[in-house]
């Protein structure tokens, strides 16, 4: 039997020349991590949640830096479209930051996580249907590829594999710092690739 472990971000040999295909797969990766947080408990849940927070931070930052600006510039009505998505992202980030300060074993944690999951999933499908479809229609192969490259650089900032033990987990957390720091670092990485820093 194959070892059919759940795919994680970057966990394939795809050529990644299409930013939309890449982001849709990341939406699946995020959904997989929500599953993992829900299915685990204790330290395992803490670890899964850390990875979820990081991937969400990296993914949303990449969208804000790469695809939303493109949509604003190139799509008819792009401004309004992006405003709607940004409002959803702001709301999700607030919930995420609040959750990030909570202990995953807190009884309040799960209901709030599930509410976040619903918001994130609706946001992701709205992007796929109202923004990504138009990006694919408008952008040429070179633009799709260069945006993909920037998103890949961001993805590298999110170590999505489970950590072997609690010690390294703590070390990794310290090294990465809180949510805002992950976003800053991701932004820098993207800007280096896009030659805008």
């Amino acid at each position: 039997m194959s070892d059919t472990h759940t795919p994680r971000a970057g966990d394939d040999q795809a050529s990644d020349t299409d930013v939309v295909a890449l982001l849709i797969r990341q939406h699946g990766d995020i959904r997989n991590l929500f599953d993992e947080v829900e299915a685990t408990s204790g330290d395992e849940r803490r670890d899964a949640f850390r990875r979820l927070v990081r991937l969400l931070a990296v993914h949303e930052t990449a969208e804000e830096e790469v695809v939303h600006p493109y949509a604003r510039r190139k799509l008819p009505g792009g401004d309004r479209l992006v405003e709607d998505r940004l409002a959803e992202e702001r709301k999700a980030k607030e919930t995420l930051a609040a959750l990030d300060e909570m202990d995953p074993d807190d009884p309040e944690f799960m209901p709030r996580l599930l509410a976040l999951r619903t918001d994130v999933q609706e946001h992701a499908r709205a992007e796929e249907r109202y923004e990504f479809t138009h990006i694919r229609r408008t952008a040429g192969p070179a633009e799709l590829a260069s945006m993909a490259k920037a998103v890949k650089a961001a993805e590298a900032m999110a170590p999505t594999r489970p950590h072997p033990g609690a010690e390294t987990m703590t070390a990794a957390n310290v090294a990465l710092g809180p949510l805002a720091a992950v976003m800053d670092r991701t932004r820098d990485a993207i800007r280096r690739v896009m030659g805008r820093s």
């Binding site: 994680r8 971000a9 999951r117 694919r136």
Partner: protein, 399 residues
């Protein structure tokens, strides 16, 4: 079983119309629902879609304007029922995710019907078909992982295994060989009529779904796989619809449709785990009882016969969504290399089959093979869920 739909009265037809608020149902949560709740929704959508389409065809063969108006009234209610049932599916699900659920329906519904079917010729027709739906589930599951990085088990939840069935490339038969012999309406067990109608309606809805949603994908392999499997659904509709005795009158068929809807809503009401969905099955059962009553009156008036002559004396055992893993494994071990010849089944690739294969494949690998190659390139493996051990057919074990 004491429930006899012929003896029950439901909600009067003039009280069945629902307003926008009542039509605006809360969809299920795709990440937390019982997979078989989703299967029941998809099945009833197929059944209601068939009710609407059958009703339109009946109306087109009806010249009496008053009768047309009477049919239109019931049909409008059926249309509302379809809108409520299918709108239980959530907008956040992708087309591919819903496709995996459609194939879970095809596998576990057809397998259950095959297990319960009393007539050996009809049973063989279901056993033959289910091994093809089983393979479609496997192909789409691999596509799903490629496009969304999601595993099909997040949809089917280990209730249904995902592994090769009869390879999809061999499903393309000469249309001549897709037509079966019909049952004889005068001697067949009434349960067999319900089975044939149910599986036909489910496959017809699957055909509608693939032929309309397939082109919404942009990925070439996805577009092509929907085109290929969509054409096999055409074969399956041909296969199952030809089982129904064409000598049934229009009114007799109408009664069978309404009776089947009562049977299925009753069955699903009995086993539904989601209370909000269960309430809908119950409400719709109470509407269908009245539709059945109206249909029975029409049959008496136009055919001069009693509906009791064609229906079961009591409602059969409930149709159940449950795992069919061992049954499917037996079929995989024994029937994977079958194809059809005329209205029967053979193991050898005959001349007409070979000619069709040559023409449709045009010397190339079909999308159902290329999806596996592309998946392998991406992940270096295939996607399967083999919860009960390795594949029963040694030739189809993963290398």
């Amino acid at each position: 079983m004491t429930f006899n739909p012929l003896e029950q009265r439901g909600i009067p037809l003039d009280r069945q119309l629902r307003n926008w608020r009542e039509l605006n149902v809360q969809p299920i949560d795709p990440d937390r629902c019982d997979p078989y709740t989703r299967c029941r929704i998809i099945t009833m959508n197929g059944i209601e879609t068939e009710a609407i389409l059958f009703g339109h065809h009946l109306a087109r063969h009806t010249s009496d304007p008053e009768l047309k108006r009477q049919l239109a009234r019931t049909r409008y209610i059926e249309a509302q029922q379809q809108r409520v049932v299918n709108w239980l599916l959530p907008g956040v699900s992708s087309v591919l995710e819903t496709t995996i659920a459609y194939e879970q329906v095809a596998v576990d519904l057809t397998a259950w019907v095959a297990r319960m079917e009393p007539d050996p010729y009809l049973k063989q027709a279901y056993e033959f078909g289910v091994l093809e739906d089983f393979d479609h589930l496997y192909r789409y599951a691999n596509l799903y992982e490629m496009i969304e990085h999601r595993k099909a088990e997040s949809v089917v939840d280990n209730l249904t295994e995902v592994m090769p069935g009869r390879p999809t490339k061999y499903h393309h038969r000469d249309p001549y060989d897709n037509v079966r012999d019909p049952y004889d309406r005068t001697t067949v067990n009434p349960l067999s009529k319900l089975h044939a109608l149910t599986v036909m309606a489910a496959e017809q809805q699957t055909m509608n779904f693939y032929m309309n949603t397939g082109p919404t994908y942009m990925e070439p392999i996805a577009r092509q796989l929907y085109q290929e499997i969509g054409l096999i659904e055409e074969e399956h509709v041909t296969h199952y619809e030809s089982l129904v005795d064409p000598g049934e009158t229009w009114w007799e068929q109408l009664v069978n449709h309404e009776y089947n809807e009562c049977y299925l809503y009753y069955s699903f009401m009995e086993q539904e785990s989601d209370p909000k969905v269960k309430a809908i099955w119950e409400l719709h059962l109470n509407m269908e009882l009245e539709h059945l009553h109206i249909a029975c009156d029409l049959m008496r008036r136009h055919d001069g016969r009693e509906p009791q002559e064609i229906l079961a004396p009591e409602l059969p055992d409930v149709l159940t969504f449950e795992p069919n893993k061992q049954y499917l494994r037996e079929l995989l071990a024994t029937q994977i290399d079958l194809t059809t010849l005329g209205a029967g089944y053979v193991r050898e690739a005959h001349e007409r089959f070979e000619r069709m294969q040559q023409q449709i494949h045009g010397g190339e690998q079909p999308p159902s093979e290329r999806v596996m190659a592309e998946h392998d390139e991406m992940f270096g493996r295939e996607y399967r869920v083999e919860t009960e051990g390795e594949h029963p057919d040694p030739a189809l074990r993963e290398r």
